[in-house]
Symmetry: C2
Subunit: 351 residues, 2 copies
């Protein structure tokens, strides 16, 4: 490597001359720094990030914080309504918000496949910056690795987040009580079917768009109306059915859902019928399920409906002491069926 040291004194190609990611972009040397400066810092710049230390150092108040992480491997990386970058920011913001916390700081770690076009990468990074701005969070530190062609699929992004939990908020399965109402913040299945429609080449009169968005603003509005919010969860992978099963299981309560009350967009319903999916199992990326005390359910529902990300909110069910750990759906035609957790892989690489 001694030769490289003297070679290093002459400047390597500016990044503009690299149309695609090369292995050296992940080597920790000059090209890594150029990629960081000219793509990541260009869009993410803030004083914490710009310090470029191994970690970010930020202030917190005494109290509880929420910490979350998610990896994003969605394919294709762009789809109607969003791309993997927006998804990675919104998804982790939402996981923090589902703890009743106010998301503040995000980290972003990239695994890039050699050969990824730099202009494609920049579009994703720019989307992340915009999504972070909208959600009011800072991307304070990150990492970039590059693997050889065929050892990843374009780009994988892992985001982690930290948020502060204001006093008096307590999201915990033990707080869920019989009689509590179950509210969903809007239509289900939009994200999963937006991705599947692209993959399967389905076309509808009106395009199915992902619902990806940051839900922290909606959560704040809800807490402003009432602190009787006992549980929050965003029904992503596995959809509403899997999420409700997780909640039933962790709280050891029964869940009763009313099919008629569950909002589904017409074109999502059509796509589900064509492809043989049940919308209850399809992923959402901009919806939350709230389990709230019945006394405040209507009040909370009302503020949700006034929020741009909650206008189709609906009370879709209730908690019961009957059939503990089991989710039962009262169907449109009046029957009842058990809604089990998904047993297999319905939609691979949906997020």
């Amino acid at each position: 490597m001694t030769n490289d040291i003297s070679q290093g004194l002459s400047c390597p190609l500016p990044i503009d001359n690299y149309a695609t990611v090369v292995l050296a972009h992940g080597g920790g040397g000059k090209l890594t720094h150029q990629l960081i400066e000219q793509v990541f810092k260009k869009h993410f710049s803030n004083p914490d990030l710009d310090l470029m230390h191994d970690g970010a150092m930020v202030e917190v108040n005494k109290g509880r914080i929420a910490i979350s992480t998610d990896s994003y491997v969605v394919s294709p990386i762009s789809f109607p309504g969003g791309n993997i970058g927006e998804l990675a920011v919104n998804g982790t913001v939402n996981d923090i918000a589902m703890c009743g916390a106010q998301p503040k700081y995000l980290t972003a770690s990239f695994i890039l496949e050699e050969g990824l076009r730099i202009d494609e990468l920049e579009i994703i990074v720019e989307s992340m910056a915009n999504a972070a701005k909208k959600a009011g969070v800072l991307i304070v530190t990150g990492d970039t690795k590059v693997v050889p062609r065929g050892k990843a699929d374009k780009i994988f992004i892992t985001t982690s987040g930290v948020g502060m939990i204001p006093e008096g908020r307590n999201i915990h399965p033990s707080k869920i009580n019989a009689g509590d109402k179950i509210i969903i913040s809007g239509t289900i299945g939009d994200h999963g079917m937006a991705v599947m429609s692209v993959r399967e080449g389905l076309e509808f009169e009106s395009e199915i768009r992902s619902d990806t968005c940051a839900l922290n603003g909606l959560v704040e509005a809800m807490y402003h109306a009432s602190s009787n919010i006992n549980f929050l969860r965003d029904p992503t992978r596995g959809g509403v059915a899997s999420t409700m099963n997780e909640i039933a299981s962790s709280s050891n309560k029964g869940i009763r859902l009313f099919e008629q009350a569950i909002p589904v967009n017409g074109n999502v319903r059509s796509a589900c019928e064509i492809l043989g999916f049940d919308p209850l199992y399809v992923a959402n990326e901009g919806k939350l399920i709230a389990i709230v005390s019945s006394v405040d359910a209507e009040k909370i529902l009302a503020v949700m409906k006034q929020h741009p990300f909650g206008k189709d909110s609906s009370i879709i069910g209730e908690v019961t002491n009957e059939h503990p750990s089991v989710v039962v759906l009262q169907t449109v035609i009046g029957g009842e069926r058990v809604v089990d957790m998904m047993s297999g892989e319905q939609l691979p690489r949906i997020c």
Copy 2:
């Protein structure tokens, strides 16, 4: 999917019957839950993680916290002295410690390639649990995605961490002053050459082992001796040379290194000679560089030498007002040369 709901009532195969990871392990349904219960929770179990919410909720004191993230894509996933799991825990613990912080909470996000052997995965997860225990940190939340065969390479792990910065500690490039001493905590190049030796099939009388370890205990010992620690950094990707260049650049100071004082194991030196590497550019995973006020340098060095992870510590250089932003090496034979940042990709997928 309606059919799958009734099928779901009969139990799918227990995980013991899956020898390898299948796509459904990442689907968010039953198999995901089985994988979490029987591999991840089995080894990582703690009250925060066991809650299995989207995020972990933990207590902090008022003050500064450090946040860090890193993705690990090392190939091969096991090497003498460690594996990708240990590396992922120690690496993020170290990034937090290099902020002068006490690492507390880790998140772990897995991208698994379909076909990865579950027993291989479990070995890695167990190593992570052991590394976390040794470092005194809790893995409080995580995520698992599965991508089809050929879309990843066995396993990628992204860890993020949060640590508390005790009052009075302040790691910042602006604190670096001319006259400060530069200390390294031991021999350089061990991790990189351990991985390269496996890849290249090199054999030595004594095996080259990765130095991966958690440095937070060493950092605490150093702060116990003196708070005159102005900067800390672990020289991972790009090695000591790239790290020193980053420090010179961010502090706008000159760095002078003494080649003779830089400890290198004999077999690492031999492997570097055979493969044409300069150990200054080879990655370390269990070493730190400290820039300390000269008045306390010997005191700090003494406690480092007493620590199991610092016994070969050495003062290897000093900060100067000459040649700002440039790193100069005083060679063994008495000459001087500029040590530049690595310009290309020396060792792909070393971490």
